[in-house]
Amino acid sequence: MTVESTAARKPRRSSGTKRAAGAASAAKPAAATAQTQDAEPQLVQLLTPQGDRVDNAENAEFAPFVADITTEDLRGLYRDMVMTRRFDGEATALQRQGELGLWASLLGQEAAQIGSGRALNDADYVFPTYREHGVAWCRGVDPTNLLGMFRGVNHGGWDPNTNNFHLYTIVIGSQTLHATGYAMGVAKDGADAAVIAYFGDGASSQGDVMEAFNFSAVYNSPVVFFCQNNQWAISEPTERQMRVPLYQRAQGFGFPGVRVDGNDVLACLAVTRWALDRARRGEGPTLVEAFTYRMGAHTTSDDPTKYRRDEETAAWESKDPIQRLKAHLLATGGADEAFFAELEAESEAMGKRVREAVRAMPDPDTMAIFENVYADGHALVDEERAQFAAYLASFESAEEGH
């Protein structure tokens, strides 16, 4: 259950639905709410929402990992976030225009993705969900590659080994095991590399994620589990997924867990670098919980007004990842208006390029149904391909007959 179809949005007002909703609300556990939601959580933070640098005991271990960051690097991170948001906005628009069947927006999660994505080395390997458009950007994946599956012309289709960026994974949490296995292989090879697995707060309920935590701990695998806790798994808040803060789970599996301000790109960069460094040094897995917020809908088929309050979304708007870095750059003289204007033009040009590329994307050939089902071929696929081709050809010969 992940990406719902447009058809599923039709309202069904059965009494059963009402009862279920009432029961859920009555059963809401007050203790869990107090523990996970209401109190402001402790986060590793390097930039406040106002854009001020933070130095405190919580971030002392991580701050050295961004000590080398120059003003130019900061501008680069800012550019990555702006370009990613522009691409994401273009994709949402393309869905509204009927060019894409569906889009899963990353709006609000740019810092978590760019911060962690820019922490990676070329030799590292990424296992994404279906929302890691910002990480894909950092890996150099052509943005238009990401749109094929949402347009319905393929199920991904890119070569994961070109950018060490695996295919998007839709069934929730499965990729954490692939990342763990890949990391086991990296360790066997003695390679100087690490693996990062992305997942969300909803995925943390999946058995596969627990198994990935455990396998990686048992084998001391070089993998970073990067959870973007965006507070919502479609319509279900984190109280429906967990009773203890997510990052604390790592302790039970025997490796460290850190909660970072997921809207602070610098903190995400620092914490992920720290975790990757541990992995490459042979110190095993780490869980990073990037505390962030899904500003938009789960996908373009979703309607968040049915299940969450405007006030909540508004409160998160003031923590916007892009605005806070902009405030920092302006306050420190790290960028001027010319930089922002130039970036605006660049992002618009990228949006136009993406739009044109999607519209020009051809439908696949019908016979592609039968391609790549097997690497070594399969008699039944061959038989059905031939039968279907003959069936299609029968219409052509019928037309010729007229």
Partner: protein
């Protein structure tokens, strides 16, 4: 010495040993596959000789085993995974069906998933529940997977070699009640194609088609029928995906009658698909409808009832008689 008499279990063990020797990327993973050598001792001695890095005892979590095997395959390894018993595979079913089977196609062929999942299957060993099932249809139904099962020691040796060499994921069903049956294995012979059936007894009046543990039952049935003057051909199907329909067709065009036998439930089983396709292919050759003999649409019964549940000599001969009576 190229030809040696050995059990199916030993042949599988020798086959794994050879694969580990030939390709440093081959890994063995599973529960208890290390020091113990697996609950059926199929991996006996392999960890001692190839080390814990290549013969890997895993946590007790089937989805985790297959999920990490996929990751290792993406890294360039060729994992051979052991699922301890047929009924224990379902925690891994999602990883096998949703991930392993489809990943090659999703990448438009740019990545390969050479993973073998070995599953001891079938009943007649007097076990408790979940230790005697035949779930092969549930895998044969999934595009992207190949599904095979040897019935004898030679095939156990060679088909496992071929499965490991395959760039596609292969679900390798091992007939656990036959593990200790012995046969001659030629470890230097050139094997036949992995997905071809084989005529194991020639006959003229009817074809019995089976795979895995039921091949022996069918051979016994053919011998018994011969005493009554009936000439039965026995076809070892060997592969359930793809099924060698050409091989079955050739046999049926000769004998004009077909009975398919498996332990798995008859309803929507491999036999049902064979019946449908052979009826299409051989409609004017058939003297009787294709009959199926197999398990019932009921949970696998307690061990004291399994002799009644499993197709035995009499149930196979009953179907032979019914077919010949048309």
């Amino acid at each position: 010495m190229a030809v040696e008499k050995m059990s199916i279990a030993k042949a599988l063990n020798e086959s794994l040993r050879k694969a580990l020797e030939q390709d440093p990327k081959v890994l063995i993973m599973g529960e208890d596959v290390g020091k113990l050598g697996g609950v059926f001792r199929i991996t006996d001695g392999l960890q001692k000789d190839f080390g814990e890095e290549r013969v890997i005892d895993t946590p007790l979590a089937e989805s985790g085993i297959v999920g990490t095997a996929i990751g290792l395959a993406l890294r360039g390894y060729r994992p051979v995974v052991e699922i301890q018993f047929d009924g224990f595979v379902f925690p891994a079913y999602d990883q096998i069906v949703t991930q392993l089977a489809k990943m090659h196609a999703r990448a438009l062929g740019k990545i390969k998933l050479p993973v073998v999942v070995r599953i001891p299957y079938g009943g007649a060993i007097g076990a408790v529940e979940h230790h005697s099932e035949s779930p092969e249809t549930l895998f044969a139904h999934v595009a992207g997977l190949k599904v095979v099962s040897p019935s004898n020691a030679t095939d156990a040796y060679w088909m496992l070699q071929q499965a490991i060499l395959s760039d596609d994921p292969v679900i390798f069903f091992e007939p656990k009640r036959r593990y200790w049956d012995k046969g001659e294995v030629d470890t230097e012979a050139i094997p036949g194609e992995l997905h071809r059936s084989r005529v194991v007894r020639e006959g003229a009046d009817l074809t019995l088609a089976a795979y895995g543990p039921m091949v022996k039952v069918c051979l016994e049935a053919a011998a018994a029928a011969a005493e009554e003057g009936k000439s039965i051909e026995v076809l070892d199907l060997r592969s359930m995906s793809p099924v060698d329909f050409d091989g079955i067709q050739a046999s049926v065009e000769k004998t004009r009658r077909l009975v398919v036998v498996h332990e798995a439930p008859v309803f929507l089983g491999v036999g049902s698909e064979i019946a449908a396709r052979i009826t299409e292919r051989c409609f004017y050759h058939l003297e009787a409808p294709v009959l199926r003999v197999g398990g019932f649409h009921a949970p696998y019964p307690p061990a004291r009832l399994e002799d009644e549940y499993l197709p035995g000599l009499d149930r196979v001969l009953d179907a032979v008689d019914r077919s010949l009576a048309y």
